[in-house]
């Protein structure tokens, strides 16, 4: 048989694209359906869970597609000026279902005047990855923050009150794609997050993702550093 990895890749990408679009349609129908049903409190909580999971799947498909494109090398990013309060405010509003399903306390903190240049689509994907990871680890409070750090990097951070990253993860060099088996899915997500973010370049400076301990909450902190 012919071994044609390129064709197999294209097949997968096209198929995922189709699934993503169809799923979007299913999700909006489902949302209307659930809204029209009279549900008691218990069922309502299940409905919230379903909505949250559906949103997760949608976000996951978007992420897989974008990650796939970075491997192909054809995901050229599009940087435009973004106002951080607008951007983060919408991110929080978008996660209304996650908040309800997991009784999450999700908030943001950014200077009203703060702006920066980045690809909103890409940063959205990475923020979603980080938020869903934190929820999976059991976080109940998540804080999104933005500020400027050393020499013109815009820093967007996701703080949580979960258990924090294990020491082994903090030592992992994601840029090399080394992933320990016990943290495979999280590790892979962060590996691709790094790939996506590193496409932000400005002169010699390159975007990167850093993992650490939060100084605002008790758990983990993921930092996106975007050169300006």
């Amino acid at each position: 048989m012919t071994n044609n990895p390129q064709l197999a890749d294209q097949l997968l990408a096209a198929s995922i694209h189709e699934i993503k679009n169809r799923f979007g349609l299913v999700f909006s129908q489902l949302d209307q359906l659930l809204a029209a049903l009279p549900l008691d409190e218990n069922l309502n909580q299940s409905a919230e869970q379903i909505k949250c999971e559906a949103e997760f799947i949608g976000a996951e498909l978007v992420r897989v597609l974008a990650s796939y494109k970075t491997l192909e090398g054809d995901h050229l990013i599009n940087q435009d000026q973004q106002f951080l309060v607008d951007f983060l405010e919408e991110k929080v509003a978008r996660h209304a279902n996650t908040i309800r399903a997991h009784h999450l306390n999700l908030s943001y903190d950014s200077d009203e005047e703060l702006d920066g240049f980045f690809d909103a689509g890409v940063v959205n994907i990475v923020l979603d990855t980080a938020i869903y990871n934190a929820v999976k680890e059991g976080a109940k409070t998540i804080l999104l923050s933005a500020d400027y750090v050393d020499d013109y990097y815009l820093r967007i951070q996701i703080h949580d009150d979960g258990p924090g990253f294990p020491a082994s993860m903090l030592e992992t060099d994601f840029s090399q794609g080394q992933i320990k088996s016990d943290s495979q899915s999280t590790g892979l997500g962060l590996f691709f997050a790094q790939r996506l973010i590193s496409q932000h370049q400005e002169g010699e400076k390159q975007g990167r993702v850093e993992l650490g301990k939060s100084d605002r909450l008790s758990g983990a902190c993921v930092s996106l550093l975007l050169p300006q």
């Binding site: 979007g24 435009d80 000026q81 607008d86 405010e89 919408e90």
Partner: protein, 550 residues
Amino acid sequence: MALDLIPYHKKNVLIIEDLAEMRSSMKSMLANMGVQTMETVNNGEEALAKLAMNRYHIVFSDYELGRGKDGQQILEEVRHSGLIPASTVYIMVTAAQTVEMVMGALEFEPDGYITKPVTLEILRTRLNRIIRTKDVYREINLAIDKKDINGALEACNRLAVEKPKFALPAYRIKGKLLIGEKRFDEAKDIYDTVLGIKRVAWAVLGMGKVEYFQGNYDEAQKLLESLAQTRSKYVEAFDWLSKVLEAQGKFKAAQKVLEQAIAESPKSVLRQQELARLAELNGDMEAMYKGCRKATGLSKNSVFKNADNLIRYAKALQPKIKHGSMRDQKIAISEAFGLVESAKTEFHLSLSQMVKCGLVEAQTLFNSGKPLEGKMAYRAVSTMIKDSSALSLDDQLDVLVAKLQFEDEPEAQAYSNDILKKIGGNRRLQTKYYGILDFHLSKLPEARLELLKQRGSELLGMKDYEEAWEVLYKATRLPCADVDCQLDALKAIVNLYKQGGRSSDYLNQANELFNLLQNMDSGDPRYPSMEKLRLQWAEQQPDDEQSATG
């Protein structure tokens, strides 16, 4: 917070949404926020009618509106025609799948967008934010609405100084205003400044437009191509790139680029009209017909409806009238007459337009089997075409079509030779000229074959292998096709491949031709050149395709 102070009870809102449930859910959410005056419509036509009648503070438009216009088209049309003031807040409501399209709008961009599913939290958050931001541009928009462009430019400058965060958006508006005023040098300064800070898409497009207007086509092409390549859905970059290519005389390439834009975003009246216009210039009847049909379907009650497009559509219907099924024919005939009638009654026509109307009427009659009536209609316009100086060469080619139908052979021949001389080395007009002759001979396959063979070998001589292939491949499809035209066609495709022009269609079509020639007698004097072509063809195929089965 100040944001709760937005007086929603005083706001007049229009909701454009095709789904009934979505309409009522938007209404109840807005009512929840305090809005008291709301109207809803379910399509673009109704929206335009409402917007022409009333003033709204806020317009919500769904992006995907089923069959008719989409939200972006409504926005372009209302902004283009000044149907809504600059101070109206226009918000696009979009599904996740179309966000990229909405965000890709660089020229006619909405004030904001809300992605579905829309919940009360999201609506409240986004709407507050969008209105607050819109308020930042209040002075600018008021000046624009008063048509005080200098005032608006000054307001842009003030905003950039007073609120540095909004400096770039202020420059964005300023650049657009300056282009509108044809103050290109100043616009260029603005875009230079912005691009010095960051390579943002709207500034690249703006600079591309300025370069185009100033006649620096190479520069414009470079900028616009770079935008077109960034995988984001900047369809406007394709529109302008097409203009630049046309200005450089690259008509076919211009059409191709526009077709790409249409594949992404098919619902723009202007874009479809442009495609039809370019297709007419290229003599591409099929694309012209499609463009006209789409544009006409989209432009009912539209400000973009115009005489040229009506006449063009009537012309594009001719192949259907001549060759279509009985039913198609009947519909096309009444449609063609209707279009001409509408052009004549609704618009003030120029001489060239009147000639075209007359010619297309005559053609319609002729092609529908009424040669005598056609001839009479032709005679009626022929007095107008005595003096060709008022007619462009494209118009004269239209006249040629009529001459071929209605005049005696020698007269038509003389006109034909005369035009060919005037056309000279103009490749676009040459192609169109031969297309017209080809269409005229469509019921005489032998004569057609000769014509195509002749043109094909001319093109081979000029080394235009792409067009040679097109013409010669057409010849090979005729029932009377011979080995000579098959060999010439293969010569064209082999050379086209050597130049790097590849496609899977070509591949299959060429292989098919080689198969037809498989049984050629080895004693045939043409056998060696066929074998040589076969070898050259094999060399052009990548290794993996040759060994695909291995």
